[in-house]
């Protein structure tokens, strides 16, 4: 640490060059922060703590095929099952298809199963008491400026009312919160009563979209899933049951291999970056050969010269990189506030920061090592003589 000013003045020796290089590093890590938060958002969709003690039962044909309501009671009898909720995808549109958010009709006990959704007791009671009641996540309410007590009109894309009309209106009676930051995207949902939905819709009555099954012991998940699927085996309503995590991961993987795309882009970016900063460091050391020789003359060891140059290159990358990641965090915050669930992006959290900083240090070391070795090996006499 006592040599910090030495490293710093080496960096500031050619201010323009250092600032330009840092700007390149900044751009690279801005991109890293943004892309990694998108990747994390996709990866997290399949990895939640609550997702291990919950199963999802859908039709084996495809999750868009409906299942009979009568299955609920039979699933509830499977040993190890503690609660069975169900829901139907509604797919309603608020004002414009661009305002997409998930909305579905849910069973009365839905909040006993999806326990991470926290609703104040009075609002939960109001929801139970209001036939046309709906609850929304805090994030969604903020996005559209909704207040408890107002009516929310949705246009059906799948389910018309009995009279053929697509216009459904719900009374907003509650706003739920999700505390776990990884599950924050669940706040972008609107939920309403399945019973009301089933009474009012034109067709498909008595059928539900999927079952959410809460189990007592996650270790038993496989056994219970098999037992649930056995209920409907060889019927014309065969089911497929898996943990919520596995179900989400399977769904997300249908979009594309986001991880692969992000990795490919970042490989191109970092390859370029290493070349670029490596060139800067090589230049910086080449120019300073006589200075390094002077340092050695006054008693700096080979090792300290090596470390000085390495510290310089790591510091160069760290400053640019941290600034880039800070900028990325700002941008992600802005994007989230603006589009909500329409675009999956996770906060730049400690995992992204950790991998980012690790990358900065590695890149700093990689680009510094050749110039540093050159500085370490130089012969004082030759260097001072300018040979």
């Amino acid at each position: 640490m006592k040599y910090f000013h030495l490293v710093w003045s080496a960096l500031m020796r050619r201010r323009t060059r250092t600032i330009l290089t840092m700007a390149s590093v900044l751009a690279a890590f801005l991109l890293f922060g943004l892309l990694d938060s998108v990747r994390t958002a996709f990866a997290d969709a399949g990895k939640t703590v609550v997702g291990v003690d919950r199963l999802v039962t859908v039709s084996k044909l495809s999750f868009t095929v409906q299942l009979p309501l009568s299955l609920q009671a039979r699933i509830a009898q499977v040993p190890g099952v503690s609660e069975v909720g169900y829901a139907s995808w509604f797919g309603g549109v608020y004002q414009d298809p661009k305002n997409f958010f998930p909305n579905f009709a849910v069973s009365d006990n839905y909040f006993n199963v999806i326990t991470e959704m926290k609703l104040p007791p009075d609002q939960l009671q109001a929801f139970r008491d209001t036939r046309t009641g709906a609850v929304v996540g805090a994030d969604l309410a903020r996005r559209f400026g909704w207040k408890v007590g107002q009516q929310i009109p949705l246009n059906a894309t799948i389910w018309p009312q009995k009279d053929g009309s697509n216009a459904w209106t719900f009374d907003l009676v509650g706003i739920f919160h999700v505390d776990d930051p990884k599950l924050k995207n669940e706040e972008d949902q609107l939920l309403f009563h399945w019973k009301y939905f089933d009474e009012a819709r034109q067709f498909g009555n008595g059928m539900v979209g999927w079952y959410n099954v809460k189990i007592a012991d996650p270790a038993q998940a496989d056994r219970i899933a098999h037992a649930i699927d056995a209920i409907s085996a060889n019927s014309d309503h065969e089911t497929k049951t898996e943990t919520e995590n596995a179900f989400n991961a399977g769904f997300v993987s249908q979009f594309a291999n986001i991880g692969l795309i992000v990795t490919a882009i970042m490989a191109a970016v970092f390859f370029t970056l290493i070349l670029l900063t490596g060139n800067t460091m090589a230049q910086a050391v080449r120019e300073r050969i006589p200075e390094l020789a002077v340092l050695k003359t006054i008693g700096f060891s080979n090792r300290s010269v090596l470390l000085l140059v390495l510290a310089e290159s790591v510091l160069l990358v760290l400053i640019g990189g941290v600034a880039g990641m800070l900028l990325a965090a700002l941008v992600v915050g802005g994007v989230k506030a603006k589009v909500g669930a329409a675009f999956p992006i996770a906060d730049v959290d400690h995992r992204i920061w950790l991998s980012g900083i690790a990358l900065m240090i590695v890149i700093g070391l990689v680009v510094g090592v050749l110039p540093a070795l050159r500085g370490m090996r130089l012969k004082i006499v030759d260097a001072l003589a300018g040979r």
Binding site: L20, L31, L61, V65, P160, I265, F271
Partner: protein, 436 residues
């Protein structure tokens, strides 16, 4: 103050130049290149520039590290940009190439996507009886009521189950879509549990090769043919409508009716007739409009993402180029000062530094575009489309995209060369000559 104003002016000129450049079509750039070549070859200043540039280029190998930073940095930008835009282009081309103006799609009002829609048997028949519908030699309407449902099949790439559209059709389906051709095997037989598989679906999904069987709701279906349509239907499985309806318990309903009109001009008349009928609550649009709308969201998203990533990478590469060229100007300071002392004016010096940077940028752009083209052209992927099922498409690297990439490269080279060039021109001759 004067320096600040000059800097400001430079930035304004730069922004204007970049805007013009981004709007310039390829022949505009060609004219500019020809004009530059003429100037270089024919005028005194031009020949001076040429010889100064020659010296710069001759010394490139001695600073290959710095030069390769420009080339590879820009190659990275162009490669990533072209690849991402090719993805958007391919997705859009697949969906936009589907459908035409005289075939229309009738769905339940408000349903947005085919798989959301439900039409009763009566409605499906009624929409075929309206004026404007083309009829065959026997006087029957050319229209195909279809049932689109979703099946779950494992993808070849990761073994994970993914959704695939299963389209239940009648014999009319082949008639309203003459571009769908069987390329292997045969058409399914109505009434049997047989399937024809689109070429794209066959590539992406496991276990649906010709002759293989798959189980849907405990019933065994056999793949008897492969078809190629060159558009979005390539991602689908086709089977007999009534048989699929019984497997999926959909009764006699349809999800949509594809109707052939007598001509594209009949659309307004047909639409008015459907709207006027109180027994129908349907939406109608040309198949071209329907599929174009399906591609809009995703291809726009990919384009925005691609351009954003491209801009950020370009900024990174730009600073790299600036760095290298400032260093190049600094190492050549004495040489440039000598030229100035000999009577060379500022223009040849400025132009030669810019030419050198833009040549390096061009090399980078071509390299990046070439790499993207080699790796990604015709690269087949699939993603979730708006029917909640997979749409198979190919990356499409068009000449327009390659040109777009080269334009970006030259723009980065232009900006990266301009500021160092200005510095070179402003070097105080005496000071630079004395410098060791």
């Amino acid at each position: 103050m004067k320096r600040f104003l000059r800097g400001l002016l430079l930035v304004v000129i730069l922004v204007v130049a970049l805007v013009i450049w981004s709007l310039l079509p390829w022949y505009g750039a060609l004219i500019a290149a020809v004009a530059l070549a003429l100037w270089l070859a024919l005028t005194r200043r031009g020949r001076q520039t040429l010889s100064v540039t020659g010296v710069g280029i001759a010394t490139l190998p001695s600073r290959w590290g710095a030069s390769s930073v420009i080339v590879i940095g820009i190659a990275g930008v162009v490669g990533v940009l072209v690849a991402l835009l090719a993805m958007a282009e391919g997705f859009q081309a697949t969906l936009k190439g589907t459908g035409n103006d005289d075939t229309v799609l009738v769905t339940r009002a408000g349903s947005l996507a085919e798989s959301n829609s439900v039409l009763s048997h009566d409605s499906a028949v009624l929409v075929q009886q309206k004026p404007g519908v083309a009829r065959d030699a026997q006087g029957r309407p050319i229209a195909s009521p279809e049932l689109v449902v979703i099946a779950s099949l494992p993808k070849k790439s990761n073994g994970q189950d993914a959704n695939v559209s299963l389209r239940g059709v009648g014999p009319e389906a082949w008639e309203v879509r003459p571009n769908v051709k069987i390329i292997a095997g045969r058409r399914f037989t109505p009434g049997l549990r047989e399937l024809d598989v689109g070429k794209g679906a066959m590539q992406q999904f496991a276990g649906i090769g010709l002759g293989s069987t798959l189980k849907l709701n405990n019933q065994v279906w056999t793949v008897v043919g492969e078809f190629d349509s060159g558009d979005a239907f390539d991602s689908e499985l086709w089977g007999d409508k009534d048989t699929i309806a019984s497997t999926y318990r959909r009764g006699s309903s349809a999800t949509s009716v594809t109707v052939k009109l007598t001509s594209p001009r009949a659309f307004d008349q047909y639409k008015a007739a459907l709207k006027a009928d109180p027994a129908l609550t349907v939406d109608v649009q040309t198949t071209r409009a329907y599929f174009a709308a399906q591609s809009e969201g995703l291809s726009k998203l990919i384009r925005i993402l691609g351009t954003t990533i491209g801009v950020i990478m370009a900024i990174g590469a730009l600073f790299g180029a600036l760095n290298s060229m400032y260093a190049a100007v600094a190492t050549r300071a004495r040489e440039i000062a000598t030229l100035r002392a000999l009577g060379f004016r500022g223009t040849p010096v400025v132009t030669s530094v810019m030419l050198e940077t833009m040549l390096l940028a061009l090399a980078g752009g071509v390299l990046g575009a070439l790499i993207a083209w080699l790796i990604f052209d015709r690269y087949t992927v699939s993603t979730l489309g708006s029917n909640f099922s997979q749409v198979v498409f190919q990356f499409r690297i068009t000449p327009a995209l390659l040109w777009e990439g080269i334009k970006w490269a030259l723009a980065i080279g232009f900006v990266g060369g301009l500021f160092p060039a200005m510095r070179a021109a402003r070097l105080p001759v005496t000071a630079a000559l004395r410098e060791l």
